[in-house]
Symmetry: C2
Subunit: 217 residues, 2 copies
Amino acid sequence: MVTHDVMPVTTNRGLPEKRRAIAQAARTVFGREGFTRASVDTIATEAGVSKRTIYNHYPDKEKLFLSVILEGSESVAATHMRIAERHLRKILDLEEDLIAYGVEWASSPTAFLDHFALVRTIQAEASRIPAEVLEAWQNAGPRAFQEELAGYLRAIADRGLLVVPDPDEAANHFNLLTFVNVVQKSFYGAIRIADEEITELVTGGVRAFLRLYRPVV
Amino acid sequence: MVTHDVMPVTTNRGLPEKRRAIAQAARTVFGREGFTRASVDTIATEAGVSKRTIYNHYPDKEKLFLSVILEGSESVAATHMRIAERHLRKILDLEEDLIAYGVEWASSPTAFLDHFALVRTIQAEASRIPAEVLEAWQNAGPRAFQEELAGYLRAIADRGLLVVPDPDEAANHFNLLTFVNVVQKSFYGAIRIADEEITELVTGGVRAFLRLYRPVV
DNA sequence: GGTAGACTGCACCACGCAGTGCAATCGGGC
DNA sequence: GCCCGATTGCACTGCGTGGTGCAGTCTACC
């Protein structure tokens, strides 16, 4: 697990309690309205805090956004860790476990609706976001998940349940065939799709994945 | 091929020549700045046209955006048709042809940079876009490509070169393993990635696809 | 030469928004 | 009782923006 230093994006002034309220409100409002439409006044109101206080904690709107998305990534990463651990550490029935993992993980955009709305914003603004910031986010987000999954796949392969010449590529393929498939269809949760459809898509993806990487008997 | 009627998004007043200039400029500016940041004044200047004229042709900014993205989809669809036809009609070496098709298609976001910037905007704003508009775009865009590809795969399967129980799912898998993989990494062309990397990614995807759908000898 | 439609330029409105300045208040530590 | 940092409320600046109104010009056609 690699952690990357990022220049501080928040001042150390102010009460942590207020800071949390601001961050929480910012996540909600940015998620609902997108970066540009979201106004600092709205965030202040939602946080039950004066606008002036926000500018005591964060130098400007952009840094506030940045801080929120990085925190969000950490929280999602932690969740992913728990999901992966729960389904992929002890394998009972490989197909079943992979499906359970995939379904739960592919459902997380619905659970972290605000955060993934921010992710969509990031993607839309990619060309206007400083390269090192984009880099930092990718490392905290997508890349981290893939690395983690690759680790589990390697372990599963070591026990002879899969044949995985290149764990990173395999993790990528799994990700594409399940998670990415779902988020493409649901716009990262913005368009609600039924749980059964998620299950169906993931199941199809896992079956394909297994055809790719299951050892020939 | 299904075409969907969409309510007209442009007035019939005005000279078609000016209209084209406006649409062209709008595509560029929206692509560069995103919907919200792009100002109608900028578009007017870029088009060499007075702002008043824009409002002679389009009722408002939103409709202008809409019109531009639908036109763009058509243009991209036409390109896709040519690429698919060129590589998938007559198959000489299946792997080679699929790779050539995949590489060329996965490179199109770089060729249609403006348009795919609009696509990212759409995705980011998905939750704020009227459902029927989103529907119309999906039909003109992603869904159309997938359908077309499914048709070719079916034809290839008919000749015994592939085993394709469900052409739609197969097309989806191909799409995920090649095109989507590339656009996820490049943010639809916003972040430049080397041609060799595109080739590499697509090649890996095609190989996986073939392992999934090649007939067992 | 007259009429009609398209275009232009420019002023203008109304509004929202990021960010600042400031005086006043609150609360805990010494 | 005093101080200091955090917070508040509010007015205010400056700017950009979507959209309109209007008076005048240009062009093509009759």
